[in-house]
């Protein structure tokens, strides 16, 4: 009975209902199941079988993308970058390019104990779900989080159809 409520392969909060009373083995097997389902999700996505957009997970920067009736929003974590160091543009109405270079910190001679952060040039192109107004795209960088607001073309906005009653 427990397992029935647990098994939500594509759900996003499988562990939550149990709080910290969850025993370790259960948490571990759940984590493993989730890892598997994420793996499958990714495979299906690659073959276009999933309902989500194709999402290459190794690309940098990682993106969150969502939309409302008027705009498409793209968000990326780009700590340590200045907005002037970023190139953001839209081509062909729906191809968004984010390009830049993250430079390593200027450090005098020393011993590196850890080197976990990455540096270098990056460029990512994604296809937006619809055409956008290229001239009205706005980008904002705050605390290392980039948010791009892309107003949709009027043709792409949902329209309420007038229905006449007889």
């Amino acid at each position: 009975m427990v397992m029935n409520t647990l098994w939500r392969p594509f759900g996003s909060s499988v562990l939550e209902p149990f709080g910290f009373s969850t025993s370790t083995w259960l948490a571990e097997s759940l984590a493993e199941m989730n890892r598997l389902s994420a793996e499958m999700d990714r495979m299906f996505r690659r073959f276009g079988l999933s309902d989500r957009w194709e999402t290459p997970v190794v690309a940098y920067p990682a993106l969150d993308l969502w939309q409302d009736d008027n705009c498409v929003y793209v968000e990326a974590e780009l700590p340590g970058m200045d907005i002037s160091e970023l190139e953001i543009y839209v081509t062909g109405g729906n191809q968004l390019t984010i390009r830049g270079e993250r430079k390593p910190p200027a450090v005098e001679k020393g011993t590196w104990h850890r080197q976990e952060r990455g540096y270098g040039q990056f460029s990512r192109v994604i296809t937006l779900p619809c055409a956008v107004k290229t001239e009205e795209v706005e980008a904002q960088l705050k605390d290392g989080v980039l948010t791009i607001t892309l107003p949709k073309c009027d043709a792409a906005k949902p329209r309420r159809l007038a229905i006449k009653a007889e």
């Binding site: 594509f10 759900g11 996003s12 909060s13 499988v14 562990l15 709080g19 910290f20 948490a27 989730n34 890892r35 389902s37 994420a38 999700d41 990714r42 989500r52 957009w53 999402t55 997970v57 190794v58 690309a59 940098y60 920067p61 990682a62 993106l63 969150d64 993308l65 969502w66 939309q67 929003y73 793209v74 968000e75 974590e77 780009l78 700590p79 340590g80 970058m81 200045d82 993250r102 910190p105 450090v107 005098e108 001679k109 020393g110 011993t111 590196w112 104990h113 850890r114 080197q115 976990e116 952060r117 990455g118 994604i126 779900p129 960088l141 605390d143 290392g144 989080v145």
Partner: protein, 131 residues
């Protein structure tokens, strides 16, 4: 959860997810460099503002905690490649650190910490006199 796993699998510059009791907490990535006079730490904390950052140094234990406000609770993602959550990391610092002189700076989501060594452990240059 699926998003967190994506984050974990992303080999790039996103943090690693770890589940705690309330929400998802991420382990931020850090660079640590030691020079003759100090330890310098650089950490990626995207989305953390100065007011939501807590840095402590106690008994040789350096703790960094950053709170991130949920930004899009009710969005349906077309791309969801990373998750949003708090940051937590702690380091055991073995060097003798002059705790009073620790300085921290947060700029564009990157935390820079300077931990100066105590005078006792700083290398001293000894002037050699010609006889």
């Amino acid at each position: 959860m699926a998003q967190d796993l994506v984050k974990r699998e992303t080999n790039g510059n996103v943090a690693v997810a770890e589940r705690t009791r309330n929400a998802v907490t991420y382990t931020p990535r850090f660079d640590i460099v030691e020079t003759e006079r100090e330890l310098v730490l650089y950490g990626d904390l995207p989305g953390v503002s100065k007011d939501n950052l807590d840095v402590r140094f106690e008994n040789g234990q350096l703790t960094i905690q950053g709170k991130v406000e949920p930004r899009h609770a009710d969005h349906e993602f077309l791309y969801g490649e990373y998750g949003i959550g708090d940051f937590y990391r702690s380091f055991a610092i073995s060097e003798d650190i002059d705790a009073d002189k620790i300085s921290a700076e947060l700029h564009n989501g990157v935390l820079t910490l300077h931990l100066p060594k105590t005078e006792a452990v700083c290398p001293r240059k000894i002037a050699v006199k010609a006889g």
